[in-house]
């Protein structure tokens, strides 16, 4: 559905309008960049770039998984809670007596185990949704409610403070001057975009989202594909959870990933992926997240209070989705 070769090419002008509407988010991002270059002082600096990319990285990482889930016609409300679980597990591992005695092994496990756990819980979401034919909103709502509770119970609700340079490389490290999590973010976006365009799994995701029943009749392993995308969403959330606690040098199960599900969904929506399924625009989700982030930065840098930025964010989400819908129907 995403790039089906059936687009009718008619007169140039309506097409241009449709094109502009469809790429409204990208256009808005460029306009915002130009505005900032002209108005915001010290905008064109490496520091500004790093600040913005660092802040947006976790949202983008989560949106990658969310885009795939939404492409199957689903939604994943549990990502914030899975971030909290991953964020709670990692310090428990490398601060444990075993982790302290074997730092290398402890740090390795602190990466692998939480991400795997988040992935498994994501797979559980998928199993629950497919096995009991539950609506994705309800199915992942279970994990949204229970997951944060599990993270809080694991840590007893306490703040875990730590200083572990090896582990924190995922949030504070730099590779050739670029923040490590930004590289992770770009790698995930590239991998997901490639998966959607070039692999059987990507085609199957679009088939499932386009028409669940037809896909099943055509022999697509619908349930397995769905379990797959929720597991991927869980893995992404796990990575994002580790990034967040690495940046903060602490893990607070009450706060890690709070509200992340809606931030990620907003990024996907602004990025142009339709919520009816059958379509995935991974790069669009990146652009959507960047747009929301840059908008907030622009407002804050020009003295607008954060609360007002929320209102603008709401308006942008509605406006972007509205203009895309007109673009599709035009």
């Amino acid at each position: 559905m995403a790039d089906a070769p059936t687009l009718p090419r008619g007169r140039a002008t309506p097409d241009l309008m449709a094109f502009l509407r469809r790429y409204a988010a990208l256009a808005a991002l460029i306009v915002l960049l130009v505005f900032n270059v002209l108005v915001t002082p010290h905008f064109l600096s490496l520091q500004t770039l790093n600040v913005n990319l660092t802040q947006v990285a976790t949202i983008v990482i989560v949106s990658v998984g969310m885009t795939l889930v939404i492409a199957t016609g689903g939604i994943d409300l549990s990502v914030g809670s899975l971030m909290a679980i991953a964020g709670a597990l990692a310090p428990l591992i490398f601060l444990s007596p075993f982790g302290v005695a074997h730092p290398a092994l402890g740090d390795a496990l602190a990466f692998v185990v939480p991400i795997a756990a988040a992935g498994l819980l994501g797979a559980f979401n998928g199993w629950f949704i497919t096995r009991f034919r539950v609506q994705p909103i309800v199915g992942t709502l279970v994990m949204f409610i229970a997951g944060r509770g599990v993270a809080q119970v694991l840590t007893n609700g306490n703040l875990q403070v730590f200083h572990n340079p090896t582990f924190q490389f995922i949030g504070l490290g730099r590779v050739f001057g670029a923040p490590f999590q930004v590289i992770v973010m770009l790698a995930l976006v590239a991998a997901a975009a490639w998966t959607m365009r070039r692999t059987l799994f990507g085609r199957q995701i679009l088939a499932v989202g386009g028409n669940d029943r037809a896909a099943r009749l055509a022999g697509v392993p619908v349930d397995r594909v769905k379990r797959g995308v929720y597991a991927i969403s869980g893995l992404c959330a796990g990575i994002a959870g580790l990034v967040v606690i690495a940046i903060n040098s602490s893990s607070d199960a009450n706060l890690v990933g709070l509200g992340m599900e809606l931030d990620a969904i907003a990024a996907v929506a602004v990025g142009g992926t339709a919520f009816t399924g059958g379509q995935a625009n991974v790069v669009g989700s990146l652009i959507g997240a960047l747009l929301i982030q840059l908008l907030r930065y622009t407002l804050l840098a020009n003295g607008v209070p954060d609360a007002a930025a929320l209102i603008v964010k709401g308006a942008i989400i509605a406006g972007a989705v509205w203009s895309q819908q007109r673009g599709r129907s035009a």
């Binding site: 939604i75 409300l77 629950f128 009991f132 034919r133 539950v134 609506q135 909103i137 309800v138 199915g139 709502l141 279970v142 994990m143 949204f144 409610i145 229970a146 997951g147 944060r148 509770g149 599990v150 809080q152 119970v153 007893n156 609700g157 709070l258 509200g259 809606l262 969904i265 907003a266 929506a269 919520f275 209070p305 954060d306 609360a307 007002a308 930025a309 929320l310 209102i311 603008v312 964010k313 709401g314 308006a315 989400i317 509605a318 989705v321 509205w322 819908q325």
Partner: protein
């Protein structure tokens, strides 16, 4: 069988599903209450019952509005922040008296509700996205008005009566919630609007072709949800003596959970007002029971366990519901049509 013979096009409430769901939710609620009554000395004491009702009345209100929205196959993510914004506005106006605080707060719900309704019916934005935008706008407005701080409520007027007062020995918020549920029940079961809500949720296109006022029905459903949410916000301000702009986080998802536990399907077209209340009370009582259990001193579960228990409970309800609903649907769809 009697269900589908009258008018096959209009999605009737499949009474068998509703009946099964009703029994399940009410039985679970009765079992939990019985368990509490037998196990804990003061569980059915006036103090506990009244404080549970006083506190859960707010969730009851947001869940009632949510139930109607969900019956139209929509969703309203803005109820939590609408309540927070209304909470701030009513606190700011509380020094002018009860009526000023109440209607000022309700005004917030009206505005957010109309905004959501406009986005859903006019701009044709999916309810999930439209009310996500409404959620952010309400949240930002509340924070701006409160200047990011908690706003104190005036105790010079009778405003706090709305949250802390009693009438005929029963908490005022409880009365408000009861009145709202009576209204909701009558609206759903005995008015053309209620029929239209279920018809729109069952099949919007069919409802439109039948000449039902689809957009008007959706419009009022979202406005109503906003109004109930803001009423909850007013009660919050009056009960805690402060307008808290950061309150209401997660209320929308709690309300959705309560509606689902109450047996209303998110696919729309089916729903019950009374069972929504049962769903709210079930989720609320889980917390209450955990508190009592800790009070006994046998086990010591932190408050954090309540989320886990609630989540697992929701999971069980959904699992049980999926099987029962499918079986009932199969029998209803069999000979009838």
């Amino acid at each position: 069988m009697t269900v589908s013979t009258q008018s096959p096009a209009l999605p009737q409430r499949p009474s068998r599903i509703a009946w099964a769901a009703q029994q399940r939710v009410l039985i679970a609620l009765a079992a939990l209450i019985l368990f509490g009554a037998l196990r804990y000395e003061h569980f059915l004491g006036a103090y506990n019952v009244l404080s549970v009702l006083r506190y859960n009345s707010m969730f009851a209100l947001t869940s009632l509005g949510m139930a109607f929205v969900i019956m139209t196959a929509g969703i309203d993510l803005s109820v939590g922040t609408t309540a927070a914004c209304a909470c701030v506005v009513s606190a700011l106006l509380s020094s002018y008296g009860l009526a000023a605080g109440l209607f000022g707060g309700l005004g917030v719900g009206l505005v957010v509700g109309v905004l959501n309704a406009f986005m859903v019916t006019r701009m044709k934005i999916l309810p999930f996205i439209a009310t996500l935008a409404g959620m952010l706008i309400a949240s930002g407005t509340g924070l701006l008005l409160a200047n990011n701080q908690s706003v104190s409520v005036s105790y010079d007027t009778d405003f706090t009566w709305l949250g802390q007062g009693d009438w005929l020995g029963f908490p005022v918020p409880g009365w408000i919630a009861i009145a709202a549920y009576v209204y909701g029940s009558v609206l759903l079961n005995y008015t053309s609007f209620g029929r239209a809500v279920l018809a729109v949720g069952g099949n919007e296109e069919a409802a439109r072709l039948m000449g039902l006022p689809v957009d008007r029905t959706l419009f009022w459903t979202y406005v109503q949800s906003g109004l109930f949410a803001s009423l909850a916000g007013v009660i919050l301000a009056a009960q805690f003596g402060a307008g808290q702009p950061a309150e209401g986080v997660g209320w929308e998802l709690f309300s959705i959970a309560a509606v689902v536990v109450g047996g209303t399907l998110l696919t729309g077209g089916v729903g019950s007002v009374a069972n929504t209340l049962a769903g709210v009370l079930l989720l609320g009582l889980i917390f209450n029971v955990l508190n009592f259990e800790n009070g006994l001193g046998v086990i010591s579960l932190s408050a954090y366990w309540q989320s886990v228990v609630r989540g697992v409970f929701l999971m069980i309800v959904v699992m049980a519901g999926s099987g029962a609903a499918r079986r009932a649907l199969r029998t209803a769809a069999g000979p009838g049509g």
